[in-house]
């Protein structure tokens, strides 16, 4: 497979949607406006944990300009799950999260919504809604949630344990997963060195720049059209249909351009409310989250507590690991505790291990997916301990990782054997990279860390329509967050032998595209890409049949090469027919040529990365700055290397933010104190250096070109890479993120 040669794949054409995006013409969620459109405002709970005793909307309803008011009563609680390929979405929880029914479970939890003729009127009306609360004690950490006599979020919650566990009475632990191999006790007795530490990471947000926004229009016939910024138009459609008891065929979801998602634009927060409001008002309704609402009431990712114990022989060979991972789920069950358990030891061959992972509900917003959900926190723990192990044994940190790195045929900690994977290759590339040997100033230190992510498969559809002039149209169902239109068009161009500019890629709505799972899980270029290639090959097969018709030979006998149908031996006197010659004859030879494909693929080959980070630390203030950074990753095959590098750089930057300054800060009542970009400190341009990338290509046999997922792996290593660099400068092992200046100075002072 690696000998495949490509014409278009591996080049860097300009994206088709680019001009619209650099000129301001592209329409994002909040850019949609319709005639007679109403504006909605969501009233949110001022308490992190409170029973809702009553909601009086009388005054709000009677205000001039108010056209509709909804409360929890308007959102049915459906006992059903929405299969989403990867993970089922619990529609009951989702409905209760849309508008609180009996209890407000976090500060900012929606309790009512108003649609009015202007945003000002809607805002004033929302203030006129009287909600009576019985305020309850909030649960704001794993410790509080699991303490004896902890307040209980959900009276009926039972721990779903694998293995099953006995729960005595009410609990805030929603789930538990164990993974085990070998004899852990014996593994530790065989070890010469055992390191044990406890790590903590805070709640962090995806931080996409475009807040959630949508417009819904419901007609007199009850059919609804929703324009929304989403990673998954079909998820939105099916979630709205499921929650509101509508046929999926009565809802059309039109994805707008999307201003970032990173997993946070998979759940629905506004769309069902907009549908219900517009149904009541019989006018279109627009709902837009403010940045503050987006922080308080969309889905960040879990805060965690992870205990990690690792043993190794003197030569660095790992003998045993024991780890306990605790993930906050927010207000409803469903943290990435399972993924965390499966990822935490996935980079290394460890003959004896025990992993336990917990899903804990707390009075914070329900977590959503965030780029490799669960894996970065787990990597922070294992990669910090690996670093300490290397230090203790006085071996090179890359060498110790190489010694224990998984290779093809090794079993993943969750069971199955790995196919072709690239961990060893990226480690070797890192050791050989000039960055690894570059000199450092006294105030600087260097850290490395590895990362793993599964990469999803799931369902995708694609349609390629050939035009009479030999150009082609491509429709898929994945919103384009980072250049997937052009990458998919490149695949069509590659297959058909035409220029990528002659392919028009389109993100379809739920009526015009075949069912396609979310833009997420690093699956678009892999799974949807595979569908696109198959659809283009379908076009090619039809073109061969048309050539056969012209030549009056059997279709199977017609070959195809370099954009041309090749005559069989029986018609050796004929000239090959190019696509541009065949296309104008479509009508004569049988009608339109439409290639289609629908696939449901297994998970893509896993992706591995290693990052190298140089950090400079001001010992007087504890302030640090990343001064050099290199990300190396196995991507299978880089279709558009520019956007592949962009994924690696962007993931690294997000991870650096997570490591250094980002965190939700809650007061003792569970109110987020920094719900804005001023104090939720994401990296700005001047915080970062150029981020060097090394693309390693170990072809993934599950994809025709060898593509594997790219987008998620790069956020996994930075937390530990930065912390390890911090240790290299300061000699202090920091186990709690973020490494903000006050925390670092405190650590320096404590260490003397």
């Amino acid at each position: 497979m690696s000998e495949q040669t490509f014409t278009t794949v591996g080049t860097r054409p300009i994206r088709h949607d680019g001009v619209d995006k650099v000129t301001g013409r592209a329409n994002y969620g909040a850019d949609i406006s319709l005639p007679r459109m109403l504006h909605g405002v969501v009233l949110r709970s001022p308490h992190a944990h409170a029973r809702i005793l009553s909601i009086d909307t009388t005054r709000a309803r009677s205000m001039p300009g108010v056209k509709a008011v909804v409360t929890g009563r308007d959102i049915p609680l459906v006992q059903a799950k929405l299969a989403m390929g990867e993970a089922a979405l619990d529609l009951r929880d989702m409905g209760d999260n849309l508008l609180a029914h009996d209890k407000a479970l976090y500060h900012g939890h929606a309790v009512a919504a108003v649609a009015a003729t202007s945003l000002d009127v809607a805002d004033q009306a929302a203030r006129q809604i009287v909600v009576t609360y019985e305020v309850l004690r909030p649960v704001l950490s794993i410790e509080q949630a699991t303490a004896r006599n902890a307040p209980i979020l959900h009276e009926g919650l039972k721990t779903i344990g694998r293995p099953t566990i006995e729960t005595k009475g009410p609990t805030n632990i929603a789930g538990k997963l164990e993974l085990k191999l070998g004899d852990v006790e014996r593994g530790f007795t065989e070890a010469d060195v055992v390191i044990e530490r406890e790590f903590r990471t805070p709640t962090v947000h995806q931080g996409y720049i475009e807040p959630h926004a949508c417009v819904a229009q419901t007609g007199e016939d009850g059919r609804a059209t929703v324009w929304t910024t989403t990673q998954g138009p079909f998820v939105v459609r099916d979630a709205c249909a499921g929650i509101l008891g509508m046929d999926a065929a009565r809802i059309k979801v039109i994805p707008t351009e999307i201003g970032g998602g990173f997993g946070g634009k998979i759940p629905v927060y506004l769309e069902p409310l907009a549908i219900v409001l517009s149904r009541k008002a019989q006018r279109p309704v627009k709902l837009v989250m403010s940045r503050e609402d987006d922080f308080r009431a969309s889905g960040p990712t879990s805060a965690t507590v992870i205990r990690m114990k690792l043993g190794a022989k003197r030569d660095g060979t790992l003998t045993a690991a024991s780890t306990s991972l605790w993930y906050e789920a927010g207000a409803y069950k469903g943290s990435p505790f399972g993924a965390g358990a499966m990822c935490v030891l996935a980079c290394y061959r460890i003959p004896n291990f025990f992993i336990e992972s917990y899903d804990v509900v707390v009075n914070k917003p329900k977590v959503a997916a965030y780029r490799a959900p669960g894996s970065p926190m787990a990597a922070f723990a294992i990669e910090s301990v690996m670093d300490e192990l290397a230090e203790t044994l006085a071996v090179d940190p890359i060498a110790i990782r190489l010694k224990n790195a998984v290779v093809e045929g090794d079993r993943a900690p969750y069971g199955p054997s790995y196919g072709p994977i690239g961990l060893k290759q990226v480690l070797v590339a890192a050791a050989a990279h000039p960055h690894w040997k570059a000199p450092l100033a006294d105030s600087q230190g260097r850290g490395v860390a590895c990362g793993f992510w599964f990469n999803a498969g799931m369902s995708s559809s694609a349609t390629v329509t050939l035009n009479a002039d030999g150009s082609a149209s491509l429709v898929t169902g994945n919103p384009d967050i980072g250049g997937t239109r052009v990458a998919q068009a490149m695949m069509v161009a590659e297959e058909l032998g035409i220029e990528v500019d002659r392919v028009r890629p389109c993100v379809g709505d739920t009526d015009s595209a075949g069912f396609t799972d979310v833009t997420g899980g690093s699956r678009v270029c892999y799974a949807t890409g595979a569908a696109v290639i198959q659809a283009a090959r379908d076009v090619k097969d039809q073109l061969r049949a048309r050539a056969a018709k012209i030549w009056d030979v059997q279709p199977d006998a017609v070959g195809w090469n370099n954009g041309c149908a090749l005559p069989p031996g029986a018609a050796a006197d004929r000239q090959p027919l190019s696509l541009t010659e065949l296309a104008p004859q479509m009508a004569k030879t049988g009608g339109p040529i439409v290639g289609r494909a629908a696939v449901n693929l297994p998970m893509a080959g896993p992706g591995f990365a290693i990052h190298i980070c140089d950090l400079e630390v001001d010992r007087g203030t504890g302030k640090s700055k990343v001064v050099r950074y290199t990300a190396l990753q196995d991507v299978g095959r880089a279709v558009h290397p520019g956007f592949v590098e962009g994924q690696m750089q962007g993931g690294a930057a997000q991870g650096i933010g997570w490591a250094l300054n980002e965190e939700y800060i809650f007061d003792e009542n569970g109110v987020m104190e920094n719900a804005g970009f001023l104090d939720y400190r994401m990296p700005v341009t001047s915080d970062l250096p150029m981020i060097d990338t090394v693309i390693v290509e170990v072809a993934n046999p599950l994809h025709p070109y060898g593509v594997r997922g790219v987008g998620e792996v790069p956020i996994v290593p930075p937390l530990a890479a930065v912390a390890n660099a911090m240790h290299a400068v300061t000699g202090v092992r920091f186990t709690r993120l973020p490494l903000s200046p006050p925390r670092v100075l405190e650590g320096l002072v404590a260490a003397g």
Partner: protein, 81 residues
Amino acid sequence: MAIVYLPHALNAYTGGRSEVAIDAPRVLELRAALERRFPGIQAELEQMAVAIDGQIHHDADYERVEQRTEVHFVPRVAGGA
């Protein structure tokens, strides 16, 4: 015969058995066979993804499990972007 690896997480049903050979044409029948052997396990297995010779499928009912196939049941994973 497919070799089925039983995850530690399902010990409650398997009594700690870690692998078992099952003769079944497809995952659907394989799960049913496991249910006969370990009553109650099927409902759990239906919640899990299935790895067949290393490839993880989320919807594996009709996947063939041929001679000497390795089958693992693994937790489903959610992804971001």
